[in-house]
């Protein structure tokens, strides 16, 4: 009789961790392949197309980096929040709020100020917008014990409606292709691009900087230590005299603010106007959750996982057009990969041995 013995694994080395993650991803890709098969598409062809679309060509790679930037920005902020077990599912709304604030600055001040003032101002505004939207669920949780998953999600919907309200109402500008939006941003408010691509300098550098800075914050600062203790054991945190309100507020300012920065990048770097929520962000706030999780909540690793997922998004776009798959496929990919990661985590934390026992 074969018996499964599950025991705690005490020593988790970085190497094992990496291998397990890799295997989980491979397993995930395998499942995705099955999905393609089910859809009547050759899985190898589809997967190949995805990766060649995003990493195979220079153009593809540039697109991948473009999409990676918001994922890294948001993802690194999420690693901090998640480490403190603050489940910020509202990055999407925080991103939009950042975009709104940036649009406000650029539309109403852009004509009067030169770009070297406009651009930093926009980023400041975007950060503030995202941070404000992030503070709300922080206060709701600490003062009113309201579960942050629900509050951040509700704020997503509220912000999306708010944005739509603005662009069909007071901020309505010229119409483009039948969808409403604001006017184009004035030149001074448009982010400079690395030539030949859609990668905007400012956010590119920002994203790398933020990943590094956040890594330092988490591991080397007192605040980072306190956030980690709060996430590990809130009771011990209270015993240790940690101020929950202050810690939660700061981490949500950071997480929300970073999402806001991503919003600025999208709106001032790529689209150059403020449109429907779906036009501004293609679900970055949610994909970033997986990016953070894949990075094992280490902000430096979001650089890697962010590029990987951006690759899937870009490749997914390419495949969608050429193979006629619906846009919802991305959700399936994300879901499958996340589940495989969770399962992989289990094998990482537990040692499974088989024993053959006499009945």
């Amino acid at each position: 009789m074969i018996k499964f013995n599950v025991t705690d694994r005490y020593d988790i080395s970085a190497g094992r961790s990496f291998m397990t993650n890799l295997l989980s991803l491979v397993a995930g890709l395998f499942m995705i392949g099955l999905v393609f098969l089910f859809l009547g598409v050759n899985p190898f062809y589809a997967l190949f197309k995805i990766f060649s679309g995003s990493f195979g060509s220079f153009y593809g790679f540039k697109e991948t980096l473009t999409k990676a930037i918001p994922l890294i920005l948001i993802g690194s902020g999420l690693t901090l929040a998640f480490r403190a077990k603050f489940w910020n599912i509202g990055a999407e709304g925080q991103l939009l709020m950042g975009a709104i604030f940036a649009a406000w600055i650029s539309l109403f001040l852009g004509d009067h100020l030169p770009s070297y003032i406009m651009v930093p101002l926009m980023f400041l505004a975007g950060f503030t917008g995202g941070a404000l939207w992030g503070i709300i669920p922080a206060i709701l949780k600490i003062r009113f014990s309201i579960n942050e998953v629900i509050s951040t999600l509700m704020l997503n919907y509220i912000c999306a409606d708010f944005l739509t309200m603005l662009i069909v109402g007071p901020w309505k500008g010229s119409t483009r292709f039948g969808f409403p939006g604001t006017d184009n941003f004035p030149d001074s408010a448009i982010l400079g691009l690395i030539s030949g691509s859609r990668i905007h300098y400012a956010t590119f550098i920002l994203s790398i900087l933020c990943a590094v800075i956040l890594c330092i914050v988490i591991y080397k600062t007192r605040f980072g230590y306190e956030a980690r203790v709060v996430g590990e054991n809130p009771d011990a945190g209270r015993y240790a005299g940690i101020d929950f309100l202050k810690t939660t507020l700061i981490l949500m300012i950071i997480s929300g603010g970073l999402a806001g920065l991503a919003g600025v990048g999208e709106v001032a770097g790529i689209h150059h106007y403020l449109g429907y929520p779906a036009a501004v962000s293609s679900g970055y706030g949610f994909t970033a959750i997986i990016v953070a999780w894949l990075a094992k909540l280490n902000p430096l690793l979001t650089l890697v996982s962010g590029i990987f997922f951006a690759g899937i998004l870009v490749g997914g776009d390419a495949v969608q057009i050429s193979l006629g798959l619906p846009a919802a496929t991305v959700g399936i990919v994300n879901g499958i990969l996340l589940i495989c990661l969770i399962m992989g985590d289990y094998f990482l934390k537990n040692k499974i041995t088989l024993t053959i026992a006499k009945p």
Partner: protein, 306 residues
Amino acid sequence: MEDMIVSTLERAMVAGTPLLLATTGEVICERSGILNLGVEGVMAMGAVVAFIVTMTTGNPWLGVLCAVGVGMAISILHAFTSISLQANQVVSGLALTMLGLGISGMMGKPYVGKPLLVKMEDLTLPFLSDIPYLGKILFAQSPFFYLAILLALAAWFLLEKTRLGIQIRSTGENPKATETQGIPVTRIKYLCVLIGGGFSALAGAHLSISYSKSWIEGMTAGRGWIAIALTIFALWNPGRAIGAAFLFGFVFVVQYLLQPLGISPNFLSMLPYIATLIILLFISFKDPRRLSAPAMLGEPYKRGER
């Protein structure tokens, strides 16, 4: 004027139905200690499956049955990762939502915008439906409505007045103590997650074959999340969920009442989500120490041997 009130209340009942179904399911699930954030995704799956099956076979009840089956099947994923793998229940539930929304979007693509030709007939109860005002509101509704209320009452009865109910509630409060008395805690948790999934799918089925008789991606519009908030509002009691869900149905419907007053429709569509936050605020004043929640909700349980 009266007609407007009556028709608003009638529509509030309709709008509250999916909320009640999903909330009842989530209450049962959470009472066993498992937090299921996948409701939104499962609801979408239920909606799409019900729609497709109904459209292809012409039989709405078959559609409902298939939806429930699929809902339960896909919930097994979350059950497995949360119970057997003791993974983080928040992340697992989110994965389920992503998967559910994704798969349903994909399956539903060819059916977007196609109207459902087969209708699920409203059930008009004789005599009762002739009562002025109340008759139209309460007794001439879609079968889902009656089903939702009956199921909620049945759930309440199950939890409070049966042996299984005690076992479920004890599992959520203290799985270790419950297991020591020989009760199969793992099996109960699986059962409750699956039941919850079935209910969420049922809610989705209502949306696509009774409420709007069509399919479009994103039609769940956050109702799954609202249901999760409503479980808290209902203090994990299916009886209270009835009141909570229809109160919310009213909030959904009041948008249309207020529209002619010139208020921005976008602001009005925010109302349900703002209302969710407000009721959660309200609850935090009433029950600040969260004494009503199952004590071990969301905590992974490692069974048996050290």
